[in-house]
């Protein structure tokens, strides 16, 4: 039977290629995304093991507040501890270290590095230290408050010149320095695409952090102690010092080994990347699932086309099992072959993915491709399993072919009872809808996924039943306006409903997901628009994308408010704190200037009620955690001090956050706080050109943040949704490609199958262009069939998701009519494009040999 299977494969190279194509594409996406994730992780891992290469111990504060998304706010430690560490036996050298936000302004006045999503822009310390990776390649080390050293890549990118002035922006504001040194990092010009501005320790503390404080201490041992013993010794010495020196009261530190800090940093990056990795693999599995339909379809069609051959084998004595097994062997070979090619194709694809992300201005460091064993295993196993599963039913059906079928005229697919199918499909859909309704009525939201899945499965089961009437309906315009060719296309798309349904299913899934995501995005955008129009009462805003790390200097708002053109300017920021033992983002505002600029919908309260010992809580949160006006809340900031705050007001619009405190609360602390935005009301009678010019000047001085009009600001907020939408579209594109390939394959197989018919048509006078038209319209009808049902499902899905997110503040479902029309149009185009090659093949049918085959 193996020989027969092998002959089956080799005898029909075209079919082999076509079947493999679906497997290849599906597995290529899987391995591509997997290689991409692994490469990214490895690149960052290498980066950090380089950073800590000569570090044997690492001292830092043990006071930390962790918030969502892995963000953390760690306290700083006194720089005086460096000298203590240096005296510990076993320590060869120690150096203060600061990793703070600093943005270098290029010679053209533009800040270096991407605002927001790119690699970080660091400010740090340059000292003589044995473990240092920074070396000065040109010039000399920064030695006083007026000097800076900058990494080689940034010097080049910013077109900076040695011994000339360069502006750097940090938390404390912007300042000019003389570029005295060009630094290089190990043998890399700039690690991971980040930018570095390096200062002498005193300047670094004062400009980047707080005088007398650093983030951590890097320690290199002399080799006499193990890393663990060294860390223990250092810890002991520091504890003793803190206990004896009253100045150090309240300081809490921990000492990590070099290996620990390397691991910790790698893990942090790893978990940030793993979300991304999961996103990628979810979409590649969707693509592979879509590929299943294509593989299943190809095997079904080829089983049908080989019906006579199989019947003949049965007639001369082959058993059912042998027939089925021959087909499964064929599937195994195709699965293995396809997965192997897919694995290789994935390498190219992972490169394309990097390109896609760069195009979306998400810059990532480049490194050698990493192909792990798990990538190989995952790809091969998934490819093989998917192929075998998809071939299973067609193989079984092939075995059941009656020997008598050998005498039959044409290939007929055995059609399962339509009644069973109709009932099965309808019951599944009904069950799914019931689950969704139950959730809407109040059941657990997690059930939604199951409900949606049931509806999808039910629709796909029902597919063959509805394919014929829907295809006939959709084909009406073609038949009407395209005469006999359109009418034949219509009939062709309906003549084999199972095949049509299977071909349309990948389109259906792709379109449903695209529609749902688009509807969701439109709903979110509509929400953003409403919210910001309602709440932002100013004329201009300065915004930045630097989430978590850095932000706008608090002095920017003050500077702007002093401009003669400006009536009012206020900054809104974020700080991390522990509230009720949970890490939270707390919004910081300036109560004295926010009134009339930003409306949070205070309930029976005024901004002036927010004092240094009070807090505002959103009404929604207050209900949830059970606090009211007058309640006392305990808040722990990164300085390690717990404060008691009285709830002095509740408010409605929680888009800027659920907790609000006054900036003056933090004024005398070591807690780091940036503004996330500055909101501005201009004076009456000041023209927009004048206002913009004055504001631009003020903002440029800081070298950070974008100046936006109210409209631009609102658009930018919803623009963030577009970026995510772009990424998701990009990933769904994988599935769309497979869907298109599915249509191409099915059409090609149908063309092969209808050779005689095509020959006859050509003989009685059908022109080549009419042949093409027929194939094209069949393709368009099939594609539209998937699209129309997909849109219906997608809108439902979108609505359900928006409903599920109502707790996140999503209130209105928006149906993107324009996008929906576009999707229909795009499916039309997809149909036309998919038909190009099969239509061309159809015109190449040789009339005589088509007529002569019996």
């Amino acid at each position: 039977m193996f020989r027969i299977a092998l002959k089956g494969i080799l005898g029909r190279k075209a079919r082999l290629v076509l079947t493999s194509l679906a497997v290849i594409l599906g597995t290529a996406f899987l391995s591509g995304t997997s290689i991409f994730s692994a490469t990214l992780t490895r690149t960052f891992d290498n980066l950090f093991s380089d950073v800590f290469q000569n570090v044997d111990a690492y001292v830092r504060s043990s006071q930390v507040i962790e918030a969502d998304f892995g963000q953390e706010e760690r306290q700083r430690i006194p720089v005086s501890l460096v000298d203590i560490v240096k005296t510990v036996p076993g320590v060869s050298d120690a150096a203060p270290d600061i990793q703070a936000f600093a943005r270098i302004i290029g010679s053209d006045g533009k800040p270096l590095g991407a605002d927001g999503n790119g690699p970080p822009t660091f400010g740090g310390v340059y000292t003589k230290y044995k473990g240092a990776l920074w070396t000065i390649k040109q010039g000399h080390a920064p030695m006083n408050a007026g000097e800076v050293a900058i990494d080689e890549a940034s010097v080049k990118a910013g077109k900076l010149t040695l011994n000339k002035k360069v502006k750097v922006v940090a938390q404390t504001g912007s300042r000019e320095f003389t570029l005295v040194g060009i630094a290089s990092y190990g043998n890399v010009r700039s690690p991971g695409g980040a930018t570095f501005a390096l200062f002498d320790p005193t300047t670094a503390q004062e400009f980047l952090a707080k005088p007398g404080f650093v983030d951590d201490i890097l320690v290199t041992g002399d080799g006499s102690l193990s890393e663990t013993a060294l860390a223990a010794a250092i810890n002991k010495a520091i504890t003793k010092e803190i206990a004896t020196k009253p100045v150090l009261k309240g300081v809490k530190t921990e000492t990590l080994t070099g290996a620990q800090i390397t691991q910790e940093t790698q893990d942090q990056i790893g978990s940030a990347l793993s979300f991304f990795g999961i996103l990628l693999s979810v979409f590649s599995y969707i693509a592979l699932g879509v590929g299943c339909f294509v593989i299943y379809n190809v095997f079904s069609i080829s089983a049908a086309q080989r019906q006579r051959e199989n019947a003949l084998l049965r007639a001369i004595g082959a058993s059912k099992k042998q027939i089925s097994r021959a087909m499964l062997i064929e599937a195994t070979i195709i699965g293995l072959f396809g997965s192997l090619v897919g694995l290789v194709g994935g390498i190219g694809l992972s490169k394309a993915l990097s390109g896609l992300l760069r195009a979306l201005s998400i810059d990532i460091p480049s490194g050698d491709l990493v192909i792990t064993r798990s990538t190989v295993q995952q790809t091969l196993i998934a490819g093989l399993v998917v192929t075998l599963v998809s071939a299973w039913f067609p193989a079984r059906r092939a075995g059941r072919v009656p020997p008598l079928a050998a005498m039959r005229e044409t290939a007929i697919e055995i059609i399962a009872s339509g009644k069973k199918r109709t009932i099965g499909g309808l019951v599944t859909i009904a069950a799914g809808v019931a689950v969704v309704v139950a959730v809407i009525a109040g059941a657990e939201t997690t059930w939604l996924g199951i409900g949606i899945l049931l509806v999808f499965i039910g629709t796909i089961i029902l597919g063959p039943v509805i394919a014929r009437p829907v295809a006939l309906f959709l084909g009406r315009p073609a038949a009407r306006f395209r005469g006999i060719t359109g009418s034949m296309a219509r009939q062709n798309s309906a003549r084999n409903p199972k095949r049509t349904a299977r071909t349309a299913s990948p389109v259906l899934i792709g379109v449903a997901l695209v529609t749902a995501v688009t509807a969701l995005a439109a709903s979110i955008k509509g929400q953003i628009d409403d919210v910001f129009t309602q709440q932002f009462k100013g004329d201009y805003a300065v915004s930045t994308n630097n989430r978590g790390f850095g932000g706008l200097s608090p002095s920017l708002a003050l500077d702007i408010s002093k401009l003669p053109e400006v009536a009012k300017a206020t900054g809104i920021g974020l700080v991390t704190a522990k509230l009720d033992d949970k890490g939270q983002y707390i919004t910081t505002i300036s109560p004295e200037s926010i009134n009339g600029v930003w409306n949070i919908g205070l309930i029976n309260a005024q901004y002036s009620d927010l004092a240094t010992n009070s807090i505002f809580v959103s009404q929604k949160k207050a209900v949830k955690i059970g606090v009211a006006k007058g309640s006392i809340m305990k808040i722990l900031f990164a300085d390690g001090m717990t404060r008691k705050l009285t709830v002095s007001g509740l408010y409605v619009h929680n888009e800027i956050g659920d907790y609000i405190i006054s900036k003056s609360l933090l004024a005398d602390t070591t807690v780091v706080s940036f503004d996330r935005g500055v909101y501005i009301v201009t004076k009456q009678g000041v023209s927009s050109t004048v206002a913009r010019a004055a504001l631009t000047k003020a903002v440029t001085k800081y070298g950070q943040g974008d100046l936006l009009s109210k409209r631009e600001y609102i658009n930018k907020r919803s623009g963030n949704v577009n970026q995510l939408l772009g990424l998701i579209y990009g990933l769904l594109f994988l599935s769309v490609i497979i869907a298109v390939v599915g249509i191409i394959i099915t059409l090609l197989l149908s063309v092969f199958e209808r050779q005689r018919e095509l020959g006859l048509l050509r003989a009685v006078g059908m022109t080549r262009s009419q042949v093409r038209t027929t194939v094209r319209w069949e393709s368009v009808i099939t594609s539209l069939l998937g699209a129309v049902i997909g849109i219906v499902l997608g809108i439902g899905l979108g609505w359900v998701i928006v409903f599920a997110l109502r707790d996140q503040g999503l209130r209105n479902f928006a149906l993107p009519i324009g996008s929906t029309i576009f999707i229909v149009f795009a499916s039309f185009i997809v149909g036309v494009l998919a038909a190009i090659y099969p239509a061309w093949r159809a015109t190449k049918v040789d009339i005589l040999s088509a007529l002569n085959t019996n």
Binding site: T410, G483, I484, Q491, E757, L760, L761, T767, R768, L851
Partner: protein
Amino acid sequence: MTSLTLTVAASTHNAKKIYGKDDSVVYALNDVSVDFYSGQFTAIMGPSGSGKSTLMHCIAGLDELTEGSAIIDGEDLSKMSDKDLTELRREKIGFIFQSFNLVPTLTADENIRLPLLLGNNKGNEEWIQRVINTVHLQDRLSHRPSELSGGQQQRVAVARALASEPRIIFADEPTGNLDSTTGGEILSFMRMAVDELKQTIVMVTHDPVAAAYADRIVFLADGKVAGEMLEPTAEKVLDRMKSLGN
């Protein structure tokens, strides 16, 4: 039907069709010159492999001659593009094949009108109705081929060949797949088409009984014309075939 009034509907001149190369060349047609006359029912006969189908394909614009010319209605096929040939087949030629004559997705009516529909041509409705009546298909028009018997399917094919009022109809073993009664019926319809509807038919066959329905028989052997016979009968044909070594 005297030779004085005869006009040529289709003809070949020194037609050669050569398959293969060098050692293995086959002369499927070896210098065939033959005329087919309007208003006549001509049969082409000959042993298997004598070149009957090849001749028919080359005159009907389905295949190209290696040498010589094929002419339909005064036009030389060798000088025509694929598009022109397609149009010629659609407008001036009717076809009846041995099997698989009909498009399975179309109804009998649509199949009958297929060449007209393809040419975006309404056709002559009165004529079409007459053709349909002649082959007794009035009550089968909305059926699809799978719902028709073999004989009915061939009747649809005959009607299709006639529907566009072509200059000439080519039939390749039209009764080869039918039992003799049904075959006889089809042949009678073809005869009627010539007698009553004044059509021109060229039919390839190796069945002497079928050939006897024709006005004239052209015999082929080894790719050459091996004579002809007027007003044939089955016995006469059988005798002649024997001498050709069938």
